[in-house]
């Protein structure tokens, strides 16, 4: 029921100008770099798609890519059900709800490097309490040397950091479900599980879509926390895609490679996000499509 009015562009213009400054210029720069070979001090040479080929054939990239995919899907697998479960269990409207919301919000409000630092200190063999805890159980926990420990610590850190986002989104979504639906399900004799399946979940669909999209996009770009916790190691166990990108761009001065990688990186996120988006909004009937 929108009014057709091309003057609406005036409203959008301010936002567009700011975004253009921030998006187009770097975008053009990146495209340029990706098609050239740049060495400091020398004029750039046009190399066509060579950079892209280099990236796609590079083992460092390939391994990191697969690792990243695995990580993002693992994250989603843990954080979404956990987030929904916690949201369902949260008390509504009481001092307990307020306290819970604040505690939930805290991990989200900590600068990402502080998150990394907190977990580093928390898990370091000489500083942290976690190794003590595991040693008491008889397990020799070492986040710096043991690949399994490092990988799972990163996963747990992300779960700690980001599950509250899912919880908060679902909490709000749950609050929007009118009581009558639960009452009807009760009257219809539905078990808790069936109520969840046929009443709760369908009505959480739009909230979960946002949550899943955000988590996928952000986890695929993860950098700071991981860097501070493990530095990418031991070896390449926790070297995800952003790590590779930063190394090439900032450390190695391989701008061509970095630019090509950036474009591939962006493209992958775009495609997978779009796929998620289609699947999630198609199943939800009656939602607005944008």
């Amino acid at each position: 029921m929108s009014i057709r009015n091309n003057r609406a562009w005036l409203f959008v213009l301010p936002a567009l100008l700011v975004m253009a400054l921030n998006a187009f210029i770097p975008f053009i720069t990146v495209i340029n770099y990706s098609l050239q070979d740049i060495l400091p001090g020398l004029p750039a040479i046009d190399v066509g798609l060579e950079n892209f080929q280099t990236v796609l054939k590079d083992d460092l990239f390939r391994n990191a890519f697969v690792r990243q995919l695995g990580f993002s899907f693992l994250i989603l697998l843990i954080e979404v059900p956990l987030g929904v479960a916690i949201a369902l269990a949260l008390p509504k409207k009481s001092w307990r709800a307020t306290v819970s919301l604040i505690v939930l919000g805290l991990p989200l409000l900590i600068p990402w490097n502080v998150v990394g630092i907190i977990w580093r200190v928390f898990t370091r063999s000489d500083l942290g309490i976690v190794p003590l805890f595991f040693n008491a159980l008889g397990y020799d926990y070492n986040v710096a040397l043991n690949p399994v420990d490092a990988y799972w610590t990163v996963v747990i850190m992300d779960v700690w950091h980001w599950t509250p986002l899912i919880v908060l989104l679902c909490y709000a979504g749950l609050n929007a479900i009118p009581d009558a639906f639960y009452q009807a399900a009760e009257i219809d004799g539905a078990s808790s599980w069936r109520t969840f399946l046929y009443v709760t979940l369908p009505r959480l669909r739009s909230v979960l879509t946002i949550g899943i999209l955000l988590r996928f996009m952000d986890s695929f770009r993860i950098y700071t926390e991981v860097f501070l916790l493990t530095g990418g190691g031991p070896g390449t166990t926790t070297t995800f895609l952003s790590d590779v990108l930063v190394r090439k761009a900032v450390g190695g001065f391989e701008f061509g490679y970095a630019a090509a990688l950036s474009l591939i990186y962006f493209f992958v996120i775009l495609v997978i996000s779009y796929a998620f988006f289609l699947v999630l909004t198609n199943v939800s009937s009656g939602s607005r499509t944008r």
Partner: protein
């Protein structure tokens, strides 16, 4: 107590302990001396000290850093809201050539990895002489906060029936009058939520904040790294700084908590 109720409570307690544990550890660390941190491991400080906090409050560069952080975060929030509100209004009330595409393009900006922008932004903001000012960081951050703000605000605005706009115009309100006196109060929760996310993102972001600042506008997140003393990292001070950095966020959540719960429900979610 029914068995299911018991399990639920256990889950909640475990989860909240899980959330609180690292924070508690950091809080405890902030009251310990470096010597104690490196030698003993106990939950409560054996020899509690406020030296770490004192250092932060007395050393000018900590205070400056804090102000630096706060300034670009606030700048970002203000700029984001200023341009997102009209844009969201346009998306919600009108259809115009290319509107769907534009909307989707806005969202795609959140998909690019930050590292991509480091070098281009460095060059860009140096060129326009905004390097090492809060403006550079604020503007750089808007790339990510504007799309989200528009997304959120559009959802809220679409929840307000168009009849309200029409009635106001019939009643003789000018457009700006209508906007200021009628519309904005109605979407208050939406603005609250959008502001919350803009603030949040800007406050926690590090990479661009570090890249685009030199000496003058260095934010606190970067100053933390500065605390590299002779023995290694100055853990106590870092922990204290970390604790202090959580506080603005906690306050913010407290103020918007009602909007958060109500807000998401009303919005496009």
């Amino acid at each position: 107590m029914k068995p299911r109720r018991l399990w639920v409570n256990v889950l909640m307690i475990v989860y909240f302990l899980f959330l609180a544990a690292p924070l508690a550890w950091m809080l405890s660390m902030s009251f310990k001396t470096n010597a104690e941190i490196l030698t003993t491991r106990s939950l409560l400080p054996q020899q509690p000290t406020t030296a770490n906090y004192e250092e932060i409050f007395t050393e000018p560069f900590w205070r400056e850093s804090f102000i630096n952080s706060l300034s670009y975060v606030l700048l970002n929030t203000v700029i984001t809201l200023a341009v997102s509100v009209p844009a969201a209004y346009a998306f919600s009330r009108f259809s115009f050539t290319g509107d769907n595409h534009l909307f989707f393009w806005l969202l795609t900006n959140r998909m690019a990895p930050e590292a991509v922008f480091l070098l281009p932004y460095f060059q860009l903001y140096s060129a326009i002489k905004l390097f090492d000012t809060p403006y550079a960081v604020a503007l750089a951050h808007t790339l990510f906060s504007i799309p989200l703000a528009i997304w959120i605000l559009e959802g809220f605005m679409s929840g307000i029936p168009r009849e309200i706009d029409e009635t106001a115009f019939i009643d003789g309100y000018s457009f700006f009058g209508f906007f200021r006196k009628i519309f904005l109060p109605l979407i208050g929760p939406g603005i609250g939520v959008a502001a919350f996310f803009s603030f949040l993102f800007s406050w926690v972001e590090l990479l661009m904040a570090r890249t685009l600042t030199g000496v003058n506008a260095k934010p606190i997140a970067v100053t933390l790294s500065r605390s590299l003393g002779a023995e290694g990292w100055d853990w106590g001070v870092i922990a204290a700084a970390g604790v202090l950095m959580i506080i603005p966020g906690a306050i913010l959540i407290y103020f918007v908590r009602n909007y958060l719960a109500k807000g998401f429900a009303l919005g496009r979610v």
